[in-house]
Symmetry: C2
Subunit: 279 residues, 2 copies
């Protein structure tokens, strides 16, 4: 069985892409032609996947968008997962975290029940809340580190005392994740909306995979995200900016155009960075 | 419509109980006589509820135990919620947290879809990740503060710099929650496993409702939990220690005995505390 990181690297290489698309469809945002129900959500996802499967390194559905529609929503997620080509890694954006006895069951639900290749988890409850997720060989675990929302810094950037130096809380999260033994592959979630913090994270863990949300609708910085790719794997996620256009027109080709344009922007940023980094 | 806190106070008064039972049944732990599937889970929950509905102030199902069983598990949760008497408040132990646009959908799923009276949420992503939950009048929102697991202190007790004083991270979470405007009732989750921290939390927010997990299997301190009730509402949760006995025998009466004994221990702790606090 390949590791999660091997699967991610293979898809990144095959599609020459670091772009991940967040499969986060909302009823109220569906383009015309899709029914405003869970079936419409599934059909829209199918359009997205058919239009972009050769442009992405991963797909990342966020559970909230499906749980909000009840059983029918979960069924739409299940049908969506079934049509994602086998070689494309999946990321369960679930942000779960609980006491060990309970986290074990969340890991089972995400990795065995849903058969996701990887999942996002929340670090607040400490190392033993992450361990049950890390106990799954072949899977990937993305720990929230410095998130992409406007209020992220409120706790995550607090300066934490420690001997003679202080460091932001998110740096302690990195230390925690880095030190944890793992049978799964470990990664961190760092918003592309915070280029400075992203550089700080990358400097601390040059080789660790980073999942970078916030490109597009949240205003994230593609160049900063590309910089982070210099020493280790990155997965650059966009959702709303790829899923929804401003006007009418054929959804499939419009989605493909937006995804291709973003993939190209990322790749040319990667290239400019590589160029500028030359001696 | 009564507020969540009014509903909680009414049930606490009616049953003279601060005991909450965590409806967290595991297949492998079900007593004999229950089928080892989601139907068995539901039947066991029905036994628990019938045996304890006049002994509790709330019921708290944790989603992980149901999500681990897929659709059938969620259906067991739905059937369970349907037989909880209307006057008993429910707590969705979900520990969700996400960017605002997504948190909005989690809140919708928990408060409208599932119709829970309250839910637990994770603070790591900051104030804007909590706001969508706080926007629901009549509901309750329990923010993780100092959790009951062994690794809780790793991040939550880090000393955070701030002007001339430092304070533990969980105190910053309290400040954050306290300062947030809310249409819902706000509360904090504080493990009964950490009496010292529990006292610190209570000193900072004398009147805020506290949800205190960790009694029983996790070794929490009933007396410390009772102390916290002196100035504001508390909900003292036990799961495994009430759900599962050591031997055979009639499940319903054994569960009732364990719940009644724990309720009485809590109440006599409340009484001893009130006595010892007299001038």
């Amino acid at each position: 069985m390949p590791s999660f990181i091997q699967k991610l690297a293979a898809c990144t290489e095959r599609n020459r892409s670091a772009l991940c698309i967040g499969l986060d469809p909302e009823l109220s945002m569906l383009p015309s032609g899709y029914s405003r129900d869970a079936d419409g959500i599934y059909s829209f996802n199918r359009t997205l996947i058919e239009a972009t499967h050769d442009l992405v390194c991963a797909y990342k559905p966020n559970f909230a968008f499906y749980e909000a529609l009840g059983y029918a929503g979960l069924r739409a997620l299940e049908r969506t997962l079934a049509i994602i080509p086998e070689h494309i890694p999946t990321i369960a954006d679930a942000k779960r975290g609980d006491v060990p006895n309970t986290a074990r069951l969340y890991a089972q639900a995400l990795f065995a029940g849903w058969n996701f290749d990887s999942a996002t988890v929340s670090p607040y409850m400490g190392p033993d809340s992450l361990e049950p997720f890390l106990d799954w060989p072949g899977k990937g675990v993305w720990v929230l580190c410095r998130t992409s929302n406007p209020g992220a810094s409120y706790l995550q950037s607090l300066e934490v005392a420690g001997g003679t130096v202080t460091s932001p809380l998110f740096a302690r999260v990195i230390e925690m994740v880095d030190a944890l033994p793992s049978r799964a592959d470990k990664g961190l979630v760092v918003g592309a909306t915070s280029p400075k913090e992203l550089r700080q994270v990358r400097a601390r863990v040059p080789a660790m995979p980073l999942l970078l949300p916030g490109i597009g609708a949240q205003g994230g910085d593609v160049l900063a995200a590309a910089h982070a790719a210099a020493t280790g794997p990155v997965v650059i996620n966009a959702s709303r900016s790829v899923l929804y256009g401003s006007g009418a027109g054929d959804t499939a080709s419009a989605v493909r155009e937006r995804a291709a344009a973003l993939k190209d922007r990322i790749n040319s940023s990667l290239y400019s960075f590589a160029e500028s980094a030359r001696p």
